[in-house]
């Protein structure tokens, strides 16, 4: 019985993705109802996977079908574009235009060496340092059992590392970000050291 329901659920999820595809293909003139129905199908189709298993296992199983269905439904547009490009000369011109659309090479702006140095220093030293300091802070001060603090501190490390790295690499002023991050790392690390050891080595 579970298998039948799960198959129905998978079909429902695929139908939900198909509704989203139809909504997209009709350039969204079909309105919000179709969009809502698509998402509803995807979510309701997840439910049978929760039968007889824990929530996390059910979610892991139920998340796979929409990903695969979405990829498959991208193919029609790709193939149609390929066919039209093959028979359409203007499309070939569009091809050339598309490829030539990239801006001409710009000479490196002044200070690019300093910015790149900041990015390397920040990425290799400062960002890992602030991530580890945050992990230590979580382990030292977060509420909960020892096991939970130690375990979830890995996710704290990951989140801080990702956020700090993206902030640094996306910044037009990476030295400033590196310095701020280094200050935060020092403050956190120093705070942890003082709190855990009383400041004695």
């Amino acid at each position: 019985m579970d298998v039948i329901l799960q198959t129905v659920g998978t079909v429902g999820q695929a139908a939900g993705i198909a509704l989203l595809y139809l909504h997209w293909r009709r350039r969204r003139v079909s309105g919000g109802g179709v969009l809502a129905a698509g998402w509803a199908f995807i979510l309701i189709g997840m439910l049978p996977w929760m039968l007889g298993v824990s929530v996390e296992r059910g979610l892991a199983l139920a998340s796979l079908a929409p990903m695969v269905a979405g990829l498959f439904l991208s193919a029609p547009h790709g193939l149609a574009d390929l066919r039209s490009a093959a028979r359409d000369r203007p499309a070939r011109r569009r091809t050339a235009a598309g490829d030539a659309a990239a801006p001409a090479a710009e000479p490196p702006s002044p200070g690019h060496l300093a910015r790149n140095t900041a990015r390397w220093v920040g990425s290799l030293i400062v960002v890992p340092a602030v991530a580890i300091a945050s992990m230590a802070a979580w382990q030292g001060f977060a509420p909960g059992s020892d096991v939970n603090r130690a375990s979830f501190s890995i996710f704290v490390l990951m989140i801080v590392w990702v956020a700090a790295l993206l902030w640094l690499l996306a910044s037009a002023k990476p030295w400033r970000v590196t310095l701020i991050t280094a200050l935060v790392a020092t403050a956190l690390g120093g705070g942890i050291f003082i709190m855990t050891s009383g400041g004695t080595i």
């Binding site: 824990s54 990903m67 991208s74 547009h77 066919r83 992990m135 030292g140 096991v147 939970n148 130690a150």
Partner: protein, 511 residues
């Protein structure tokens, strides 16, 4: 594709933010593309590591179930063998037959022993090639402690790539199905890259975060020692994995087992587990502090309704069920950590999930390659192309599967260690590719990868003969064959199209 008159669902993302995230994604992606491609490609294939182990050792008996007495006899043999050879392993692992690995194997630092259904020794059971593949994936063939942490950090960086890439796509939902395959090299690559990335995003985030979590657990313990336990890292380990001294003392209280048969404690433990936890079949057994007075017995038992790999049940010196480590019902943190392996390796829904993981993992590998392709195409369109880098990159991308297959074939035929063959070969191919024009690589590279892959099942047959065509052996060999055919057809197609005006134009664009 949207009408544009409709109000967007959420506020418009500032273009400066998107531009910054694109820059971050580009810098990170280009820096990590090669190593990320290696890890992703080997990870996608390694999903089937259990099947590769069975393919690699086709003569090891396949067993659906082994009696506790048979397991006891196998352990008794291994104990005598270890004493004879003078080995002194700290831990000995007994892999009991399960649907995932229907074999009885005993594995310790120096050796791997295989057994038949009666628990009698059936021959060596090491899986050099499978380990070559999996260790490349989780440690890049570096020393375990270093490699595992580096791969954990790569997992964090992959999360950053996923998140940064998603931030850089403000039209993620609007362009969900846009795939302009016929609109020029750069646009088609951009769309393939983005569609694979967007639809696979939950999978990419999950495998990256779970890989990072497993790799960085040692960092968490190293930090927890000074921060939480006054510098005592042993206590940090004990908090997560149990205190071996206290557990050994508790186990001793039960006294000796009542029966006199070989390894009576193990036999009793398996019987007790079957009686007290009928829904949790054993997957492996650990004998830690092996051969000492404090030798501890624990059994990792599956929980088919959960995502955790196993719950670790501890047994006393008489084989009685003493305690559980709490992966199934203890602290949330333990349960989360114990769930990382199955979610990372796709080992939670049978062959269908593994095939989905293979497809999505290959998609992630393809995302790595198209990311670099996009950068190269943009540079070429700006008139600052890098033909040498492009050729080296193409050689590296196709050389990786070619060298994986070649190293495996050479080991299969003549037991040549695969690691040096792979790394020296890949380095030579990638550097040598710099001087090969892209038009030639366009067809030579996939063709070579296909031929190298074709050699692997042939080498397997040459070594083991037709008798090696067990169920797992046949499936894996047919899969290699299918992959080889696809690659060869791709190479031949590229060769044929390079002779047509359209193909020449394409090749010209590529170069």
């Amino acid at each position: 594709m949207a009408s544009g008159s409709r109000k967007p669902v959420w506020p418009r993302v500032p273009s400066a933010f998107v531009k910054g995230q694109l820059l971050a994604h580009k810098l990170l992606g280009l820096t990590l593309a090669a190593v990320m491609y290696l890890v992703c490609l080997t990870g996608a294939v390694a999903v089937f590591y259990g099947d590769f182990e069975r393919w690699e050792q086709p003569f090891v008996p396949e067993i659906s179930d082994a009696s506790p007495e048979a397991v006891g006899r196998a352990v008794a043999y291994a104990r005598a063998h270890i004493a004879e050879t003078g080995a002194a392993p700290h831990d000995v692992y007994v892999i009991t037959p399960s649907p995932e690995m229907p074999r009885l194997i005993i594995d310790y630092e120096d050796d791997v022993l295989a057994f038949d259904p009666n628990g009698d020794y059936a021959g060596p059971g090491e899986h050099t090639l499978t380990h070559f593949l999996t260790e490349l994936h989780y440690a890049l063939h570096l020393p375990w402690q270093v490699g595992f942490v580096i791969i954990g950090i790569l997992g964090v960086l992959l999360v950053a790539l996923c998140v940064g890439g998603a931030f850089a796509l403000p039209r993620m939902f609007r362009d969900a199905f846009t795939l302009r395959l016929g609109s020029g090299r750069r646009l088609s690559r951009v769309d393939i890259h983005n569609r694979l990335a967007v639809w696979g995003l939950p999978f990419h985030l999950v495998v990256a975060a779970s890989g990072a979590t497993m790799g960085l657990a040692t960092i968490a313990i190293a930090v927890a020692g000074p921060v939480m336990f006054s510098g005592d890292t042993g206590r940090a380990m004990a908090t997560l994995y149990g205190d071996p001294v206290a557990l050994a003392a508790q186990a001793h209280e039960a006294g000796l087992p009542t029966s006199n048969e070989p390894e009576a404690r193990i036999v009793a433990a398996l019987q007790n587990l079957a009686r007290e936890r009928p829904g949790n079949p054993p997957i492996y057994m650990t004998l830690s502090q092996f051969g000492t007075e404090d030798e501890m017995l624990s059994i990792g038992a599956g929980h088919p309704d959960r995502l955790i790999y196993t719950e670790n049940y501890r047994f006393d010196s008489a084989g009685g069920l003493m305690s559980a480590d709490g992966y199934a019902g203890g602290d949330a943190g333990k349960q989360v950590l114990a769930s990382m392996f199955r979610i990372h390796a796709g080992a939670f829904g049978g062959i269908t999930v593994k095939l989905a993981y293979l497809a999505l993992g290959l998609g992630l590998s393809f995302i790595c390659t198209t990311g670099v392709d996009i950068w190269l195409a943009k540079a070429a369109a700006r008139g600052t192309g890098h033909p040498g880098i492009q050729s080296a990159w193409t050689s590296f991308v196709w050389g990786t599967p070619a060298m994986l297959a070649s190293a495996a074939s050479l080991y299969m035929l003549w037991q040549i260690p695969p690691e040096p063959v792979f790394w020296i070969g890949l380095l030579s191919i990638s550097l040598g590719g710099i001087w090969v024009p892209q038009q030639r690589l366009h067809w030579i590279a996939p063709l070579t990868a296909g031929v190298a892959t074709l050699v692997l099942p042939a080498a397997h047959l040459a070594r083991f003969g037709a008798e090696a065509m067990t169920f797992a052996g046949t499936i894996v060999n047919v899969s290699w064959l299918a992959a080889a055919v696809v690659l060869i057809v791709l190479g031949v197609r590229n060769k044929l199209t390079s002779g047509t005006p359209q193909g020449r134009r394409l090749a010209q664009m590529r170069s």
